[in-house]
């Protein structure tokens, strides 16, 4: 059993056709799991719906506390890519004995040609087999939280 925490990020951005701007509405996670024909036993909980650049220290504390308090020992977190590594650090400081995998997307799922579906399949798979620890799963790869950075110019996650 895997717990999935939704926090927003590009993963879940949508297009508000009345305002003509990007926005957050409901998460696309259930739709994505269905599209992927996933049969992984999951619980989904939306903790917040924010751009990760707007995420506060309080938000990160809430995420870490949710990881500690949930009964599952395997956790996937969908998260904006810009501060994913920062949140991973806060989780690593507060969570013991659980496998936590953060993932996200460069292109919103709602915009068709997305990396979100690929990353979700990847994150769910890593979460099932990796030993306890805090990881980032992006670009088909996994990284320990303290050995990775996002290259802002290419949008790619790289080993430190």
């Amino acid at each position: 059993m895997i717990c999935i925490f939704v926090t927003g990020g590009t993963f879940d951005k949508t297009y508000d056709e009345i305002r003509g701007a990007l926005s957050f509405e409901d998460t696309h996670l259930q739709e994505m799991l269905q599209s992927g024909r996933s049969r992984v036993d999951v619980t989904v909980r939306t903790l917040m719906m924010v751009d990760s650049l707007d995420m506060t220290d309080g938000d990160r504390e809430l995420i870490a506390r949710s990881c500690v308090e949930c009964p599952e020992s395997r956790i996937v977190i969908t998260h904006g890519t810009d501060t994913m590594v920062e949140t991973a650090r806060v989780i690593a400081a507060g969570v013991q004995g659980k496998t936590v995998v953060l993932t996200g997307a460069m292109i919103p799922y709602a915009f068709g040609s997305s990396d979100g579906l690929f990353n979700l399949g990847s994150a769910l798979s890593f979460a099932q087999v990796l030993p306890p620890g805090v990881y980032i799963a992006m670009n088909g790869q996994h990284f320990s939280w303290d050995k990775v950075r996002k290259n802002r110019e290419t949008g790619v996650f790289e080993s430190l």
Copy 2:
């Protein structure tokens, strides 16, 4: 470094608009890896392009031999779902000390709302971390080759 062998299956079916029928042309694998922003170091080789119901014993021998002969010790195989378990058995009989993960799709990638991208992310991830053995990665899960069957009525892979 992961070797990806393409063998066809629903994963790569396309729509022939002149004949008005399903067909196989080139694989969509490179396009899918690009769409997923994959940075996994892979070699892609198309072994055949067939519906897995039309796959012969000779085809399966070729696949197993290709697994033995390739320099990589981690392998992903895209394959039709109908006889995926059968091919896995032939590979298990002939290949030692390598991690081989078979995957596929219920809906062609070319038809938009596909499980193929999700499964590819999943299979590449399992292939990076599972110990040597022959596995099937479908529905976000992994199964040892000898502990799984495809339920023909639901289209879902189930544990034996």
Copy 3:
């Protein structure tokens, strides 16, 4: 007010993931009108759901009779491309004083990159402004029923 008759064809083909084959289920027409944000006042009626190569003389009589009997004087018919011209001829022989526009698709709407949405927008528009007669709207163009043929090799409708 426009009456839309659905008869099947590539336009509405879908992928049956259990059988791994093309099939017909419900029409996608309402979904397409919604996706196109259409505000045209329409009535939609499914007359049949067949590949136009399987269409019988009886089917064509039913279509022509439906055109005569419906209260609307402007009609759009979705139809398989292979025998669209043949059906147009039967309608032209039996229907007077109405604007009837047949349209279809080379790629199923369900397969993402479809010409169906483009053709539907085109057919609905021609149906609103053309004088009484029987027309085929394909490839962004309109043709009188007796001055067009489908080029089977290119899939394009051409003037005679």
Copy 4:
């Protein structure tokens, strides 16, 4: 022969994955015509690539002048929906004896489930058959430039 002028608008908005924001790059028009299997004889010219809320009086003068100076007597203009009616008025004041059809989209074409393809099919069709005048083609309908407004709350174009 139809001349298509591209001016930007939601129609052509794309998602900049490095900045995580909406942006304009190249027009998708040729890709859309190809996706629609259009065989209409067209010339495509990009005049500007702007959000219609940012369009200046000078931009509108350029559009009107381009309509006058192009050799074609039938013209389609892709345009943001917010000030489409305003631009239509400027064109109507300056262009005589030509059929000019403005169209746009509520959802960017790049975001998958777009009304842009439907509207493009519609606008090209109206442009082929309507008498000289300046029109707006949205929601499957056509309106004379002086008898329409965009309802900002519903996103729908309505008759005055």
